[in-house]
Symmetry: C2
Subunit: 109 residues, 2 copies
């Protein structure tokens, strides 16, 4: 696996993008539908400027594309592969979450 510095840093940027519940919710909503901002707002139940802001970040990192039609801007998942990875993570976590957050003893030996 290529772990050269620039690639690592780029990966880290994407992880930062994914480190936010609202953004992931938006990505998931876009999994099946292309959608305009209003319907995203309706779905994730967040203030519109917040949604626009998160969409701008998703766009900046090429996780979504957008196209303006009339008054509306439609956003679309640009990177199904990313969502597959998120799926893998969610699957992992839902298994992991059954184990206790951490055993009482600090030190194994």
């Amino acid at each position: 696996m290529d772990v050269s510095e620039p690639i690592l840093e780029e990966a880290v940027k994407i992880y930062k993008v994914l480190s936010n519940v609202n953004r992931i919710k938006i990505l998931y909503f876009l999994e099946n539908n292309e959608a305009d901002v209003s319907s995203i707002v309706a779905h994730v139940a967040l203030p519109q400027p917040m949604v626009s802001h998160q969409l701008a970040i998703l766009f900046q990192y090429q996780l979504v594309t957008r196209s303006k039609r009339g008054k509306h801007v439609f956003y679309c998942l640009d990177d199904p592969h990313i969502l597959e990875m998120v799926n893998a993570m969610l699957g992992h976590v839902s298994h992991e979450i059954k184990h206790e957050p951490h055993p009482g003893r600090q030190w194994a030996d």
Copy 2:
């Protein structure tokens, strides 16, 4: 895919953990070796308190385990599956990175 709120939040926490170059470097070093702090410090070339700090975070989120033997504390990857996901991300990025960061025009239509 189960996208219940607690699971989503847990996934987001792990993404936060992965959002740091130093932590990923440490994880990769542990991919093959179990290692004590000193050798990790030697390998990633960071100040020891920084390494200990990042290790504490990795431990807190169960990405590594640790065991004290004598004066040394050995860390071990607890979650090879996570590293598979990181591999997938790195692979993704190294493809993606060939495309330009973003086309000039803001709006597709």
